[in-house]
Amino acid sequence: MSIDHTYHLVICGSVVPDPLQSLEPVVTQGKPGLKNELMLPMVLDPFVNHSLNEAAKLREATKDTQVHLVAVGPKAKLQQLMMVLAQKTAFNLVAVDAPAGGFIDSHTVAAALAEAIKAIPGLDLQKTLVFGGWSSASRASGTTLQLVGEKLGITEQFFGVDRLTPAADGGFTVLERVEAGQHLETQVAGAPAVIGWATGELPELPNNPKIGMMNMAKIMPAIGKAKAVDLASAGFSVVDTALPAEKRQTRVVKDMPAAAVAAEIKEWIASGKAG
């Protein structure tokens, strides 16, 4: 389906440690962080990655829609990340050179993102859909996009979104995750809006070296121009960071007939139940 409507898509994102890495909290110069944080392999925040897929699809379905990725992270990490991301889909990068750890206040991150968005040349906020992940894999607070939206004056906001269906008039419907595995469907008159994506429904975008070469021509200068931002937050601190110490003594049950295993599980399920 092709729609004769133009959106301005802005994706907000950051880098997080590869989910398969072991993480250990440390305190450096009085601030919490991760052991060997700068050495850890980083990836684009998973839910942001989904929003990039969805933005590519929405651009294909609409007319003259452009995609801007506003990425916060240390320059070197953003550069590494772009080697992969650039091959996925065409976008304009706005890089913000700043730390990207989980122990940073989402309010300062949101302020940096909002300022960067306001400075995008030619961006019409009335046509803008702000995309991003509904929750990061680092801070996992699910607050940054709301704060960005409020700072931009965008009050139609949707989170845990798995589907956005555009209509011919520029309006759209969204499915937001709610409790019990259900979705809330809402009809929206159109941009501006903030969309915090969950996993969506799209597969990972394939690599396209041609798009990668086109993107990189613009991306490297954008990283070079990245403005350094201090994300320190007055009056905010995270203390006593620690790994859970719990390790269970696992009872391994071998060579027990299936009927006996089932009987034991039934007894366990029933234990502690009222009545």
Binding site: P17, L23, P25, F103, S106, A137, R139, A140, S141, G142, T143, Q146, L147, E150, K151, T155, Q157, F159, D162, L175, E176, R177, V178, E179, A180, G181, Q182, H183, L184, E185, T186, A189, G190, T199, E201, P203, A234, G235, F236, V238, V239, D240, T241, A242, L243, R248, T250, R251, V252, V253, K254, M256, A258, V261, A262, A263, I265, W268, I269, G272
Partner: protein, 337 residues
């Protein structure tokens, strides 16, 4: 006067949710540290003074914002109503359940009130004469405590972290309605939808969580795959034991990629790093092979058992209480009897 405000969504004729009562319990824990009175802010439709009356003993004051449009959740309306209640109450601490509704709207209300927001709070403790709020970082892998100087401090309270407050005993709170017109909205709620074919297999209130891994759809010992049979056994288990269903990422991806899979499995079932961290009293993992990323999703399951053919299953060793080295198909046939 500075107080603790608990924001809850409510309807005239419906009892409050367990999550709402837990948030009132969290307010009691915070009140014990900061020595401030608890108020409640009710957002919803109908005559909310009746709901406020039922909160006797748990709150000294109640502020209500009632409008038919608040029957359904919606960011713009909820953030507006919550901000008005906070301003009316003069609260320095604002708590709300970490439900889908308040997880969305509370940060917006915080920004409108010039406050600060933190989410998924699981504990409060006194630290240097102030309240420190505990929460998990990096998807339940690192625990930390937050201290904030600037308020009002908005926080969502994670399910299962605090005992439910006792209500209905003592004096009813004094009720102050907040009468404001909601702003014009550009959105309209159409209703709830289920993407998993109408079968409700995710049940947040269930005592037991069954996690089905990709092993259910792999070749079994007779050299054949039995995905259809697996579906029947899993659904029968869920129905018989009232369990909620979760899945490993591998199982979810199979369904999404169109491989031989459990057809009712969606990405909403996934637990772990990029999925949910559900809270149930008990968890039974079947045919799951992941280690740390998967365990992350089980952080809040108290009693954990697993069934797997591999006695050295990395997920179970040191993480489950009991590991049954057994054929899950045979065990589930017995469990269905």
């Amino acid at each position: 006067m500075e107080s603790i405000l608990v924001i809850i969504d409510a309807e005239e004729d419906k009892p409050l949710s367990g999550q709402a009562l837990e948030t009132l319990g969290a307010a009691a824990a915070l009140s014990a540290i900061v020595k401030k009175e608890i108020s409640v802010g009710l957002v919803g439709s109908g005559d909310l003074s009746k709901v406020a009356t039922a909160l006797a003993g748990a709150a000294a004051k109640a502020f209500t914002f009632s409008d038919a449009a608040l029957k359904d959740p919606g960011y713009a309306r909820d953030a507006f109503a919550a901000a008005k209640l906070v301003k009316a109450s003069g609260a320095a601490w604002v708590l709300a359940p970490a439900s889908s509704r308040w997880s969305r709207a509370l940060p917006g209300a915080a920004e409108r009130c010039g406050g600060k927001v933190d989410t998924h709070i699981t504990s409060f403790e006194e630290k240097g004469g102030k309240a420190a709020a505990g929460r998990w970082y990096y998807r339940q892998r690192i625990f930390g405590k937050i201290l904030r100087e600037q308020g009002p401090w908005f926080m969502t309270i994670e399910t299962g972290s605090f005992p439910k407050a006792a209500v209905g005993v003592g004096a009813a709170p004094a009720v102050t309605p907040v009468a404001e017109a909601l702003p014009a909205s550009r959105s309209k709620v159409l209703g709830l939808r289920s993407l998993s074919g109408g079968k409700q297999t995710i049940k947040p209130d269930a005592e037991l969580l069954l996690v089905a891994g990709a092993g259910w759809t792999k070749t079994q010992k007779d050299g054949v795959k039995h995905a259809k049979e697996a579906e029947g056994l899993i659904l029968a288990f869920l129905e018989k034991y009232g369990a909620s269903l979760g899945s490993s990422k591998a199982a979810t991806d199979l369904a999404a990629e169109g491989g031989e899979a459990l057809t009712f499995m969606t990405q909403l079932h996934q637990v772990g790093q990029t999925g949910a961290s559900p809270r149930h009293a008990k968890g039974l993992a079947t045919c799951c092979f992941g280690e740390e990323p998967h365990v992350v999703g089980w952080r809040f399951i108290n009693e954990r058992r697993a069934i797997d053919l591999n006695a050295n299953c990395g997920w179970a060793q040191g993480k489950a209480d009991v590991l049954y080295v057994a054929d899950v198909f045979e065990v589930f046939k017995e469990l269905a009897k």
